[in-house]
């Protein structure tokens, strides 16, 4: 019964009388609640936590490490079965590897969960309340407790708590923008006006807002069954694909894993064919895998991303999905909403016309004065009309707030006028009190004017003042005179012409124009005691005196033009997609620079050349304003052509579905690989990474479809925030630019981190290879490698995330997804085959130095492995004839590990310094956090060698201090080598 939308008015009347019968009892409500579930949108199906956790456990390099662990356990089992001595080493190694995987997994999971939680807490910040009548009592209930059949009361400012059918409405207007994108408030009444539930006036929808008035209604749908719920559930149909950074990391993992596995297998084969035991070969394989896999890197990447996310959150970009941090950096197209994102989302007086002249008003966010000339007596008259013929009022108790921030009861235009007047004249409410209102006709759509009659504040003037405002042409019709410099002059055709020109000019700027006129009622006809009757209109409403025009616009945010030009220089195309009128859209686009000052649309060219639009070669036009109507009839090829051929595009009057089409158009790939290598047109942006901003529920499919959806934090609906990857807390477009900058920076810095981390892999790998081939005592142990990867190297790699941009970050094009990889061959080869080799040489020199100074000269060491590792030989002879027990040798071997470890650490300091910058010299760029990295690195190494040097299981020994310096010349060599390379890069940029 309740969902019978078509019920006639009389039926409603009846129902209204029976309201007490309709009231749901608490008991029944509980029943229905149990049946229908809470009145809330089911959040998109989240992956179960355990699945997320397991994904972290097996993702990335974890598989390799698990394989290593399993091999360790297998060899432990075999050795145990064979009754070999000390088989537990392999057991421990396996346990350590498993621990590494589990701990890094837990860490990554924790980081992810933390960023998800930020979001969760964010959306739960304001629990919505609803005023419900149950059991004959009014109750405040959380909105999710509502059930079908509940009667709820709504007043201005409330969010509609469910889909409701109104049974009582008084001046009720709702803002359906979250549903339709139209921000114009729509009135609501009890009348059934349309078959389509979206059009009929007697239904208010869940998640829309009641702007003014009051209403009572019956809940007809709750939760996912609401209109919004249905749209939101459409969103979950749009699949979620991998973020660009996830693809990059995957690529990197494949690369490193490929290297690890191929070297591992190669040396497995070599060692088997060199007649090593299979068991030993497996242990070598584990060593090679561990050496090759940068265990700490993925954790580092996560930390770096979350650091950036934190930094962005401070700049009002809240990132839901850590990986989205970088996506913004590779964005090449931004499809931006107009209202609220590019504009301030409030009407503001932009221009005035009086005394035959147009004045501009200040439209910035924090205006305190208005600079235009206010000396004319016409302005005095105009200001009086603006002040008096206005029903908007400030909510009380906001005296200390800046005028622009105060909350106003009233519609958008009146609010604009009230604030405008308050800024210029000061206390408007006081002025109104002094000019007591005696009669008033509110604005309605038939009259298209608003009128009020006041006593004047001049005690000597007994006349009443009639003030009127409304649609300019309607106002002008009612005027016979016009005020010029404070004098009433007859309104002749010349003056009417001037009015028309001004009206057209202001309208052409996309502004909403209002006309103002007044009339001092003659004292003799309308004495003090005269009783005005607004129904019979017993006062003149024609032959008034026209005073001026005021035009209003939702002005662009002051930071936006700068942000748009930044985007442009960063190679990002900004497309405006709005439901607004094309003229307004174009005006805003021009004022924020989305359409630059010099570029023309087809229509502009036609106007300039004075030829019909059809004759203009549309390829000449750089800008385009596309109407939703045109878009409807377009094929996707035509849309592509538009997206291709115009660099500055505005889509106006678009529906939510069209927004999705536009996003898809931007993302559409140019099929075929070869086309890309030879771009014939300037459609390079196609196949782009597209960012979409939006706030309404209707935007959520587009937000989800986009590579990165950006929802508005203030104006945004929950559905939009759910679908988005990022939330702008201040709804400000300029914050996106900050996000782009951070995203690009983190991509660059991750590159540095990876280069830094990869380099030492060679220095960790070479010992195993040489150990196998030359049969020397093992230079570095697997556990020691883990201490580098997860100990000394972690903080420096994170420190690289704090690196500042290298000058040109916002002046280059977005990275090409196919060419600018996170890890490319050059980076890998430079790290592996040049710097890595230098590090290995340095570390080996240290190794040989330690052994030589303890008695084993390099020549003695070659080929010594089998006897060296034989437990039965306890009188092993060194180069000087001394004899060593097994334990003494092992202890020396650990000293070798420590020395190797220390020299890698020392050289990693050099590596850190060279990786800080990719082009600039170290002398050109500082970063204090790097020092933290260097000190932590050396500090941890010191603690490990001297603090934990006596814990046998860790294989560290207190190292003689001079061995710390053996690798220093090599560190310096690395640094000088790289400085020379950078010098060449700066000298000859662009060469491969």
């Amino acid at each position: 019964k309740h969902s019978d939308v078509k019920a006639t008015r009389s039926e409603y009347r009846q129902e209204c009388q029976e309201t007490h019968k309709l009231q749901t009892s608490c008991a029944k409500a509980a029943q229905v609640l149990a049946r229908d579930g809470p009145n809330a949108l089911t959040p998109p199906k989240a992956t179960p936590e355990i699945v997320k956790f397991l994904k972290q456990m097996i993702g990335g390099f974890s598989i390799l490490l698990w394989i290593g662990a399993v091999f360790s356990w297998i060899s432990f089992g075999i050795q145990l079965a064979q009754g070999a001595e000390s088989p537990f080493d392999n057991l421990y190694l396996g346990v350590v590897l498993a621990l590494v995987v589990i701990l890094t997994g837990i860490f990554a999971y924790y980081q992810e969960a933390k960023s998800t939680n930020i979001m969760a807490s964010f959306s739960k910040m304001i629990p919505q309340q609803a005023l419900v009548i149950r059991d004959g009592e009014k109750k405040e209930l959380p909105a999710d407790q509502l059930v079908v059949g509940d009667i709820v009361e709504i007043k201005g400012g409330d969010r509609i708590p469910a889909d409701i059918r109104l049974i009582f409405a008084q001046g009720c207007k709702v803002d359906n923008s979250s549903l339709t994108g139209e921000s114009e408030p729509q009135s609501r009444s009890c009348d059934f006006t349309h078959e389509n539930p979206l059009e009929t006036k007697n239904i208010a929808f869940y998640s829309t807002t009641c702007v003014e008035g009051t209403a009572t209604g019956i809940v007809i749908n709750t939760g996912d069954r609401t209109i919004i719920g249905r749209i939101a559930s459409l969103t979950s149909g749009v699949g979620n694909e991998k973020t660009p950074i996830a693809i990059e990391i995957e690529h990197f993992v494949y690369l490193v894993a490929g290297v690890a596995i191929s070297i591992g297998v190669l040396f497995f084969i070599i060692s088997v064919s060199m007649r090593y035991k299979i068991l030993d070969s497996i242990i070598f394989l584990i060593g090679i895998i561990v050496a090759n896999v940068p265990e700490g890197l993925l954790a580092t990447v996560t930390v770096s991303l979350s650091l950036t996310a934190k930094r962005m959150a401070k700049k009002n970009c809240l990132v839901k999905n850590l990986e989205a941090v970088e996506t913004l950096g590779s964005t090449s197209v931004i499809c931006s909403d107009k209202t609220g994102t590019l504009t301030q989302n409030r009407m503001t007086v932009a221009h005035l016309w009086f005394d035959n002249q147009i004045y501009s008003a200040d439209t910035s966010e924090d205006q305190t004065t208005q600079p235009f000339d206010q000396s004319s007596p016409s302005w005095t008259a105009l200001s009086k009309i603006v002040t008096l013929c206005n029903r908007a009022e400030f909510r009380p108790g906001q005296e200390n707030l800046p005028i622009m921030k105060r909350v106003v009861v009233g519609d958008a235009s009146e609010t604009a006028l009230l604030k405008f007047a308050e800024v210029i004249l000061g206390d408007v409410m006081n002025i109104r009190a002094q000019n007591k209102k005696v009669a008033e006709i509110p604005f309605n759509s038939t009259n298209k004017f608003q009128l009020s009659i006041h006593k004047t504040d001049d005690p000597n003037d007994e006349r009443f003042l009639l003030v009127m405002k409304g649609a300019p042409e309607r106002i002008l019709e009612r005027c016979s005179t016009i005020m010029i410099n404070g004098k009433e002059e007859p309104l002749d055709s010349e003056k009417a012409e001037a009015f028309q020109t001004a009206y057209m000019e202001l309208g052409g700027m996309g502004e909403r124009v209002l006309g103002f006129c007044h009339l001092y009622l003659p004292e003799n006809e309308f004495p003090d005691t005269y009783s005005f009757d607004t129904d019979s209109m017993n006062f003149p409403t024609s032959n008034l005196c026209f005073v001026g025009l005021l035009s209003m616009i939702d002005p662009p945010r002051s930071t936006v033009p700068d942000a748009v030009s930044k985007c442009r220089s960063a190679g990002i195309k900004v497309i405006m997609v709005t439901g607004d009128h094309p003229i307004t859209a174009k005006a805003i686009a021009k004022s924020v620079g989305i359409i630059s000052a010099t570029s023309e649309t087809v229509e502009d060219i036609a106007k300039r050349l004075n030829i019909p639009v059809e004759q203009v070669n549309w390829r000449e036009a750089t800008a385009a304003v596309v109407n939703g109507m045109e878009l409807k009839d377009m094929s996707s090829q035509q849309l592509d052509e538009i997206l291709c051929n115009h660099s500055e595009i505005v889509f106006a009057r678009t529906s939510p579905q069209q927004k999705l089409i536009i996003v898809e158009g931007c993302q559409r790939q140019v099929r075929g690989h070869h086309l890309l290598t030879k771009p014939t047109s300037f459609c390079v942006f196609q196949g782009a990474v597209v960012a979409v901003t939006g706030d309404g529920v209707n935007d959520s499919p587009a937000l989800k479809k986009a590579d990165i959806g950006i929802a508005m934090g203030i104006a945004g609906s929950d559905a939009a925030k759910n679908a988005a990857d990022m939330v702008l807390l201040d709804d400000n477009f300029a914050s996106i630019v900050t996000g782009v900058e951070e995203g690009r920076l983190i991509f660059d810095n991750l590159k540095k981190t990876i280069a830094y981390t990869l380099t030492k892999n060679i220095a960790e790998l070479c010992p195993f290879l040489i150990y196998i081939i030359a049969s020397i005592p093992l230079p570095i142990g697997t556990i020691t490698i883990l201490f580098i990867d997860l100990g000394t190297d972690i903080i420096p790699s994170v420190a690289l995330a704090y690196e500042k941009a290298e000058s040109d970050i916002m002046n280059r094009r977005p990275r090409n997804k196919r060419k600018d990889r996170l890890v490319n061959e050059q980076l890998a080869i430079y790290s592996y085959l040049q710097i890595g080799i230098m590090q290995s040489v340095g570390a080996f020199v240290t190794y040989f130095t330690v052994y030589a100074e303890q008695g084993f000269l390099p020549s003695t060491l070659l080929g010594v492995r089998v006897n060296w590792e034989n437990n039965a030989i306890n009188d092993f002879e060194d180069s000087y004839g001394q004899e060593w027990t097994k334990y003494q040798r092992t202890y020396l071997q650990w000293t070798g590990y420590t020395a190797f470890f220390v020299s890698i650490t020392i050289q990693q300091v050099a590596d850190l310094i060279i990786r800080k910058t990719r082009r600039n010299s170290i002398f050109q760029q500082g970063n204090k956090v790097i020092w933290v990295g260097i000190f932590s690195q050396i500090g941890i190494a010191l603690i490990l060698t001297y603090g934990l040097g006596h814990v046998t299981a860790l294989n560290f020994t207190p190292l003689r201090f001079q061995y710390w310096f053996v690798a220093v010349p090599f560190a310096i060599l690395i640094w000088v080598y790289d400085e020379v390379r950078k010098l060449f890069i700066r000298r000859y940029p662009g060469s491969k």
Binding site: I247, V689, D707, P858
Partner: protein, 285 residues
């Protein structure tokens, strides 16, 4: 999210790869021109030559700085290790089992001892001098031939009953086996602080029964004139002094754990990690 991955057929991929290997239009081989590859190869060649050079230079410098006579540091040789002959290792250290009546079970042990003692025949020791002083044999100058230092003679006959000369079976058939204990060489190491270090063998874990041992030389001492050792270069003919132990009352068919320690100042024999530093443990049946 966008369709970031372009779906390609296998043949397209192969074509792409072929094009990557050799692109006839741009004359690029694996993404570079041939001449470019040559330059790169030359660069890497030069780079590795230089790196090898640097490595060789470093090792050369290292060899120049180390002392040829003695190592710079002896951080890990604070105390000598002690080893036993014959050395048969099981999974838990030295384990010696044999059957008296079956000479095959102890033939190998005897051979090991005989082979070991060949280095101590008078012929093998002819380069060394006879020493009689019971004090450290310090040599500050190179008195030996070819700038070497002299070493004291240790011949197997000093081991008397365990020398293999009087009893070539080293007492194994009688169940009173001989074992030879050797202390590791450490350069400039002075054991015992003036008194000769001596070997002492006891049962482990079974304190009630007393192990009767004959030590050769008398008292099981390492004479001080064998110390200090000056290194292979200075004393090329140096041979370690030995102590032989003959266990007289080993109960048969019972597993014994016998610990032989070298007792003397400066000799550590209680390092939990190193079972062979200053001691040797054997299981014997």
């Amino acid at each position: 999210m966008a369709t970031l991955k372009e779906k390609k057929t296998c043949s397209e991929r192969m074509e792409d790869f072929r094009r990557f290997v050799w692109n006839p239009e741009t004359k690029l081989f694996m993404g570079r021109t041939l001449i470019n590859w040559v330059w790169i190869s030359l660069y890497y060649l030069a780079f590795y030559v230089v790196m090898s050079g640097i490595f060789a230079l470093s090792i050369y410098c290292l060899m120049r700085t180390v002392n040829p006579y003695e190592p710079d540091y002896q951080d890990h040789l604070k105390s000598p290790g002690v080893t036993l002959r014959p050395d048969v290792y099981g999974s838990r250290g030295l384990q010696i089992y044999y059957n008296i009546s079956d000479n095959k079970t102890w033939d190998g042990l005897v051979t090991t001892l005989q082979t070991f003692l060949t280095a101590y025949t008078p012929a093998a020791q002819h380069l060394n001098i006879n020493c009689t002083n019971d004090t450290y044999f310090f040599q500050d100058t190179f008195d030996g031939p070819n700038k070497t230092k002299l070493s004291c003679k240790f011949t197997s006959d000093m081991l008397q009953n365990c020398s293999g000369i009087t009893d070539p079976t080293f007492g194994f058939p009688e169940g009173k086996p001989c074992f030879i204990i050797k202390m590791n060489r450490i350069i400039n190491f002075l054991p015992g602080n003036g008194t000769a270090p001596r070997v002492n063998c006891t049962y482990v874990g079974d304190e009630s029964s007393l192990l009767e041992v004959d030590y050769y030389p008398v008292n099981g001492t390492f004479n001080l004139h064998y110390f200090p050792y000056y290194g292979k270069k200075a004393q090329p003919s140096y041979s370690n002094p030995l102590v032989a132990v003959k266990f007289l009352n080993i109960t048969r068919n019972v597993e014994h754990r016998i610990l032989c320690k070298v007792i003397g100042a400066g000799i550590i024999s209680d390092n939990v990690y190193d079972p062979y530093e200053g001691r040797t443990l054997l299981k014997n049946t």
